[in-house]
Structure formats: C-alpha cells, structure tokens
C-alpha cells in the first residue's frame, strides 16, 4: 500500500515570497489534514478536509494561507506572502473513517520550509 506522498521535501524562500506544498493521500482516505510543526513543538492542525470540503480551518491564518483539495484526492497548501515565523515543517496526513479497524493518521514525510 502506497503511503502519503508530499513534495517538495525542502524549500527555502525569502520573506514575502509565495510557496506551495503538495500532498497525495492514501487511496480511499476521505479525510486529509495539514499540520504545521514549529521546531520543538507539537503539530498544529491548520486545515482538515473531508472529501473536497473543509471541515475545520479554525487555526489557518487565512490572510496568507490557503488550501484546496480538488476532486477529493490531492491537496495543495499555499502561503502568500510568507513571513519569517512560517518557517516550520508542514505535515500532511490522511485517515480512514472513524471506528474503522485502522482509524489512525498516516503521515507523509513533511516539507521543511525555511523563510529567510
């Protein structure tokens, strides 16, 4: 079974530039999550999709961050313009439905973003 794919692995940009991250979840997983993890902290949920609809984006800085999940499969997360404090690892995860035998989160390898 293929895992969650993310790209790029690393990205270095200057502040005020824009950047986009891509995620391909495990086939059949309707739920997709984007987390931001700042060094030394736990992952913070930015946005959660159920199929192609947003079910939680309460912690997404909407003035600069946007995300979409077209056709309920792949997803992209964009930052425009980036700030220094956006330097973090961006993690994508997917999961099967609640109460299924394997209702855990499957994570990709993450994208490490450095904003200079």
């Amino acid at each position: 079974e293929a895992g969650v794919a993310q790209s790029p692995r690393y990205k270095i940009i200057e502040k005020r530039q824009s950047v986009a991250f891509w995620c391909n979840p495990i086939s059949g997983h309707a739920t997709l999550y984007w987390y931001q993890q700042i060094l030394g902290q736990g992952p913070k949920l930015l946005i959660q999709f159920q199929n192609n609809g947003v079910v939680d984006d309460s912690q997404l800085p909407k003035d600069r961050f946007s995300a979409e999940r077209l056709k309920g499969v792949d997803s992209t997360l964009k930052i425009q313009p980036a700030k220094l404090e956006d330097s973090a690892v961006y993690l994508c995860a997917s999961s099967p439905p609640v109460n299924s035998p394997n209702e855990k989160l499957f994570f990709g390898s993450g994208t490490q973003l450095s904003v200079l």
Binding site: P43, V98, K104
Partner: protein, 114 residues
C-alpha cells in the same frame, strides 16, 4: 491550540530501563493516540486507545487511559537506544460526519542511553 500537555518534556534513561510519559487533555474525547517522531519529520502511529478502554498493550508498549482525570500514560518497557525519539499524544474527537479531529500535545523527548 494544543489539546494535550505532556509530562515530562524531556526524559533521559539507560537502555533496559522503563520509560513513562504522561498526557493530560482538556475536553471529552473518542480516542487517544500515541505517535512517535524521529528527526522532526513524519510521525508514526504507535497505539490507539478508545474512550471506553482503560488499558491496552502492544509489544513493549502499554497505554492507560483515565477519562475521569482526562489523562493517559505511555509505558515503554525494556527501552532500547532505537527508542530515542519524540513521543506525542493526540486526542481524537469524532463527529457525526464519520471523521475525527486529531489534536496533538506538546511532546516528550526521550533519550535512551546505550
């Protein structure tokens, strides 16, 4: 916002000893999950305990859950150097749509000294 607070923040033990990490959370949950992370990259699921369960085992891992105290603990027995990593608890809250919101704690950094 972080749902879970973990204690201790860092733990250093000798190989062969047991490691215990604690997690406290704030709201009602459907399940509590533990994840491991090496080198600050992708997290790996270790074990899930549902709100109607009190204890669960998986290999060298033992998890307990006390919903009345809103707390959980993860015990790793007979630790190995390869267990060195950060460990996170995460709370799962389900809704009627059949999906869950998973919120992570602050993490415990475990170092196992050979």
């Amino acid at each position: 916002s972080q749902q879970g607070e973990e204690d201790p923040q860092a733990l250093s033990i000798q190989e062969g000893e047991n490691a215990t990490m604690n997690c406290s959370y704030k709201t009602s949950i459907n399940n509590l999950q533990w994840y491991r992370q090496n080198s600050g990259r992708g997290l790996v699921h270790l074990i899930l305990i549902r709100s109607n369960e009190r204890e669960k085992h998986s290999g060298r891992l033992r998890v307990t859950l006390d919903t009345s105290k809103k707390s959980s603990s993860l015990l790793i027995t007979a630790s190995r150097a390869a267990d060195t990593a950060s460990y996170f608890c995460a709370t799962g809250v389900a809704n009627s749509g059949g999906y869950q919101k998973v919120t992570f704690g602050t993490g415990t950094k475990l170092q196992v000294i050979p």
